[in-house]
Symmetry: C2
């Protein structure tokens, strides 16, 4: 589960300050399928980064699985992310020198899973997102939507309890996007995986149990 | 205008070959507003890269403004791109150390326009895509949709005769995406700017005069 309590995030920019999130409070229960919608620049990626412990709030508390993440040191944070959280980045963040397969294997090897098993699981994860044929390609040898799907496979391969998906279907045609969505709905129903999406895609929004709307760094009252 | 005559594109991958485009023929007249649609991995970006002279075909001819681009040397190609073509990349390709404003100014300075005029035109271009407030931010200080709009402003600021737009609304919410589309339709109607889009976005497709469909590297017969 994940909770934000009156969270604000400011970025320093030269001598000015950008207020990206302002007094945001929300609670996501285990097993939920929640979407965060809002205009470009409204703070969606910032919100996901805070829930995923990739960044610290400027004010307020971030509580993941009952623990205030401000109380955790860097090693504990790194563990929490590796063990529990799967993050699908808006700009993918793939490792350029590794193949798609090696990119997806990486988090499993990082957790100490033996090579043979990591490879088998990574191959299966790539098949599930339709990339079985291009497993040996490096990111610069893949299309935009293929890179997006490698990022998705990598986030899901560790079977995390919480998946933070930053616009996971932005670069996908509707048929491929639907298939990815079905995969995620399936994980949510069968494994109880919690999903928090940031998305503009109406197809994702219709499947969300709850849609939180951000505008200018603030959450609008639930409708 | 732009023409592809029986164009194929293969990529070498280790000892195998990936056939990204196969025998594609198409002609786009000046002033057209054409969309290329198709599943992820079907060859859209590859097609746009060939029309934009960023890459060479493996077979067939690419003819831009009546000239076979295979006959042009690197300088002539670079000139053609700088003078006539605006390219909006699927992954933006912004210069990380420059601000949004400097990124948009760059093609104008490259053409020899004096600093004061380049700056004024770049500021106006950023205003037109709603980024007036964030002109001083660098790409890593911008949201995904803001980066996409910097890439759009940069492509349009030189008033090119041909704009190649690779999924220009993928990272934009529907309202921002509509505004960008209106901007482009306006340029098309008033300046006669030719647009070739690759897109999955139904909102872009409905505005296209013609939709070319790619599947597995081949163009389907026009409907
Ligand atoms: N490192 C940074 N420094 C300064 N400002 C930043 C930084 N990162 C983000 N911002 C600003 O914070 C605001 C929120 O950004 P964020 O990436 O969360 O938006 P978003 O809702 O994800 O947008 P999009 O839909 O375009 O991806 C934006 O106005 C952006 O310019
Ligand atoms: N440098 C490369 N080396 C090998 N294969 C490549 C390379 N670049 C692209 N490909 C392959 O060529 C095919 C077409 O890629 P392209 O980027 O044109 O697709 P696309 O239609 O733009 O897809 P998307 O909608 O996902 O952006 C894909 O199968 C891709 O894996
Ligand atoms: Mg974002
Ligand atoms: Mg593409």
């Amino acid at each position: 589960s994940a909770r934000l309590e009156d969270v604000s995030k400011d970025y320093a920019l030269g001598r000015t300050q950008v207020s990206a999130l302002r007094g945001v409070s929300l609670a996501v229960e285990p097993g939920e399928f929640v979407a965060v919608a809002g205009p470009s620049g409204s703070g969606k990626s910032t919100l996901l980064n805070l829930v995923g412990c990739l960044d610290h709030p400027s004010a307020g508390r971030v509580v993941v699985d009952g623990r205030d993440v401000a109380a955790l040191d860097d090693d504990a944070l790194s563990d929490l992310r590796a063990q529990k959280i799967g993050f699908i980045f808006q700009s993918f963040n793939l490792i350029p020198v590794l193949s798609a397969l090696e990119n997806v294997e990486f988090p499993l090897l990082f957790r100490g899973l033996p090579r043979a098993q990591s490879r088998a699981r990574a191959e299966r994860a790539l098949d599930e997102v339709g990339l079985g044929d291009v497993a040996r390609h490096r990111p610069d040898e893949l299309s935009g939507g293929q890179r997006q799907r490698v990022a998705i496979a990598r986030a899901l391969v560790t079977a995390p309890v919480l998946v933070l998906a930053d616009e996971p279907t932005a670069n996908l045609d509707s048929k491929t996007g639907e298939a990815i969505l079905d995969l995620m709905l399936d994980l949510n129903r069968k494994q109880g995986t919690t999903f928090i999406f940031s998305t503009h895609d109406p197809k994702v929004l219709v499947h969300a149990q709850r849609v939180l709307r951000l505008a200018d760094g603030r959450l609008e009252a639930a409708s």
